[in-house]
């Protein structure tokens, strides 16, 4: 079927426009006034100039923006903002932050250990007292008998 199909498609090559249409369309198209060669050249030149000047304009704007950022006066800014622009200060700040976190953790563990020890001691005391009370009770019962 595939070969037959390809043959059928190839037959479509026989399709041709009518001679009358071809002639009249050709005449109409070629009679259409076309801009002169100089007008076309001028248009192209104008387009190229516009593109070039737009590109140069963009480059100048970018340069101005970059220049303005690098020459920003730091005096008028707050100390926090200035220090935030300094990478050394930022590194030091980060190290201090880590150190402070570690200290806070050590303090927590120390306090929590004492509290846990005290709680355990309290529990042990109450168990010992309960045993003593039981012993006394049993002695009183024996004496009573």
């Amino acid at each position: 079927m595939e070969n037959n199909l390809f043959n059928k498609i190839k037959l479509l090559k026989q399709i041709r426009p009518e001679a009358g249409f071809a002639l009249s369309s050709r005449r109409i198209i070629l009679d259409t006034t076309k801009k002169s060669h100089y007008q076309i050249l001028f248009k192209k030149q104008l387009q190229q100039t516009f593109i070039l000047s737009a590109a140069m304009g963009m480059a100048v704007v970018l340069l101005v923006i970059v220049g303005r950022i690098s020459s920003l006066p730091l005096e008028g800014l707050s100390p926090e903002l200035i220090s935030s622009l300094n990478s050394k200060d930022l590194t030091l700040e980060q190290e201090n932050l880590n150190f402070n976190i570690q200290l806070a953790e050590a303090k927590y563990y120390k306090e929590s250990t004492t509290q846990v020890t005290m709680a355990l001691n309290n529990d042990l005391d109450s168990v010992a007292m309960q045993k003593q009370a039981e012993n006394i009770n049993s002695l009183i019962k024996e004496l009573a008998l």
Binding site: P17, R26, I29, I40
Partner: protein, 189 residues
Amino acid sequence: MLENEAHIIRQAQQGNPEYFGLLYDHYLAPIYRFVFLKVDTKAEAEDLVHEVFLSAWKNIEDYDHLGFPFSSWLYQIARHKVIDYYRTKKNNLNIENVNEENFKVANAVESELDKNLDLDRVKDAIKQLGEDQQNVLIMRFVEDLSYPEISAVLDKSEGAIRLIQHRAIQNLKQIIRQSVETKNGEQFI
């Protein structure tokens, strides 16, 4: 590709109508076929083809020869004209105005009546394919364009064109098979 095409195009770009006439004569038939296989009537195909060449003549200075024949540029214009045609047609289609006779390829190929019935079926089947599949099928098998040429017209890679071609053939076979089965079914009723 037309002999000495680059020179002819340069002359046409300088506003010389005789040279554009040479391009018109050489490329009219393939562009006409390309458009005719995608629209409903011969009159619509003629209108669109006229617009394609008029547009090409008005804007020929924008054409840059980048190693591909002038036809690639013309096919691109034709493709966009057909897309515009379907965009506006969708809003204006009135079923009463459609003349069934205009659908027949017989108007274009009058000499071979027997083949025309089958050709009509093939044309109708092609029209049922998606836009890319139609383009690839017509350019590859009707116009014998190479893969690089088709890829330049459709702005797709050669691999993608081969894939589209494969799917187009499969779909076309399926559509024709269904159309034959439907026709046979109708004969028995």
